[in-house]
């Protein structure tokens, strides 16, 4: 029999370090560059909002004379609060409407069999492929003929139901087992009650994610509110902020202050619902 000899040195030797991942540095560098590219505009926006006009075109992040006068000015200007309120109202109502109708239509397309179901689904999906810039022309003509120009409803109506939301909700309802719905049917609920009491709570993460997508989309919407509104009282925040840019001068410090304030609701919404967003996006199989 052969003898196995083990020296105490060999047992005590520390495990040799493996070679460093040659791509780790590259990966981290790329990630850092990406982070800087994404974060810098926000940092610059915040920095500009506490600068005086004379310093606006300097690229320094920390102002030489920081000031909160811009915030005082913007917040004391009644127009800003009005636009803020308009945006909040329009984004909230549109979100409620879109979530309700997208979930309703998505459920019907998923759980009911009827003639023309596939055609309806494809027709809804096909609207996803048309850019907003092309849709604003028929929207405008429609608004004009129906007397919706320069009204809240005129701003909101294109968003009261969304093709993306319908598609998203349909995909989520696919994951709800029919047994739940059939059990409720046997228990005596009508189809609306089944949708409301049983199906919707089971797709709550998707609803939250959709609500956030729709809210953010409407909060930041610029092109359509700009086209459909004439009165300053009806402006949304992104449209209103452009009034700080006049022919003689662009008041960047005020625009940046308004923009900084405008991010607050979206940050709050995101912080509250971020786990739902991540879960919803992951479940939807979409890239964030």
């Amino acid at each position: 029999m052969s003898e196995i000899r083990v020296s105490s040195q060999s047992l005590m030797r520390k495990p040799a370090k493996g070679p460093r991942d040659p791509y780790a540095v590259l990966r981290w560098t790329l990630l850092a560059m990406g982070a800087i590219v994404m974060v810098m505009p926000i940092v610059y926006m915040l920095s500009a909002s506490i600068k005086y006009p004379f310093e606006m075109y300097d690229l320094n992040i920390i102002p030489t004379e920081p000031t909160f006068e811009n915030y005082t000015y913007v917040l004391s200007d009644g127009r800003f609060l009005r636009w803020f309120g308009n945006s909040l109202l329009i984004a909230t109502l549109t979100t409620i409407s879109a979530v309700f109708f997208d979930a309703l239509v998505g459920y019907a397309l998923c759980k009911f069999t009827f003639r023309g179901r596939t055609f309806v689904f494809i027709a809804i999906l096909s609207t996803l492929m048309i850019p907003t810039e092309m849709l604003v022309i028929p929207w405008y003509l429609m608004s004009k003929s129906l007397g919706w120009l320069d009204s809240y409803w005129g701003i909101m109506f294109p968003g009261v139901m969304t093709a993306f939301g319908t598609f998203l909700m349909k995909q989520f309802f696919e994951t709800v087992p029919d047994d739940f719905l059939e059990a409720a049917r046997i228990d005596g609920l009508n189809e609306f009650q089944i949708w409301w009491s049983v199906a919707l709570p089971l797709v709550a993460p998707a609803l939250s994610a959709l609500a956030i997508f729709v809210f953010l989309g409407n909060w930041t919407a610029f092109l359509w509110p700009l086209i459909v509104t004439n009165s300053q009282e009806l402006y949304t925040l992104p449209v209103g902020l452009t009034t700080f840019s006049v022919e003689q001068a662009v008041e960047w410090e005020l625009i940046m202050t308004g923009a900084a304030l405008a991010t607050i609701p979206t940050l709050i919404v995101f912080l509250i619902f971020q786990r739902y967003i991540i879960r919803g996006v992951a479940m939807a199989g979409l890239k964030g």
Binding site: P177, D179, E182, A183, D187, G188, V198, A204
Partner: protein, 347 residues
Amino acid sequence: MATVTLHNLVKAYGKAEVLHGINLEVADGEFVVFVGPSGCGKSTTLRIIAGLEDVTSGEVQIGGRTVNHLEPKDRDIAMVFQNYAIYPHMSVRKNIGFGLRTSSLSKPEREQRIEEVAAILSMTEYLDRKPAQLSGGQRQRVAIGRAMVRDPAVFLFDEPLSNLDAQLRSQMRLEIKKLHQRVGTTIIFVTHDQVEAMTMADRIVIMKDGHIQQIGTPAEVFHQPANIFVAQFIGAPSMNLMPGRAVAGGLEVGGTMIARETGRTGAMTVGIRPDDLCVTQDKGCFSGRITLLEPLGSETLVYVDIDGQEVVAHADGRNPPALGAVVQLTVDPANLHLFGADGEAIT
């Protein structure tokens, strides 16, 4: 409680007919089990009774009332699903009480009913928990509780135990059986597990390819199978089938002449339950070499090669024969099952 009658029930999806004229009478308070392999139509039949599937032709009666065109909620039935279908966002209390939402009971009456059902199912202490905080067996009880709370005329169970582990399954089998003895409601229970069918049913309905193969008590379908399919489907291990020939004065099978009156002559299939085929020290009917042993504790299943045909027999659990040994097998000729060329039993 109510009777359930299926009269010439046919179900087709497009041109594909999946039920070919099902006729069945379920008595008031009876526990009937539909059993059969996947795709035999047992769940479809149950769903038709529940009103979750439309019937292509035929008639469904519950309590003597034709219910073909009634909505599920109007049929006075309750159903327990395979995956429980208890709502994850509701507490046990809300799940059990869900079926009472549309009832005319007052809130205190509903609460009392929920408490009663929870007590019967030993779930009182879990009433405020969510389903995620319950074990599989407890979830199954909640599903049963939701069905019970409405005090329906008929309970429908669609493979409710198939997601449970073996131990829990046998425990829940007993609980459902006890529940039936206690409440006495008519139960129709679907399963693909013949042990569940045998242990729970008053009567078993064995189905294959959309046809009923046999309806009978567990003892009847085990001891007097109507055909080869039933003979092989019921009983574990399956019945041994051997080619045989009836001649004047006996039956030739496995190279042996067995004294058994068959009532006819010619080729037939001979079925022997493994329980009826015993290893013996004496001269037996058959002789063969052991190819495999399966010790089960109280007995040992012995796989024996008889002239190229493998059969399963049983031997004593304490002193089993050795693998590879040549053994004698004996069977009581009265326990032979005979089947004609069409697969139907010869009586």
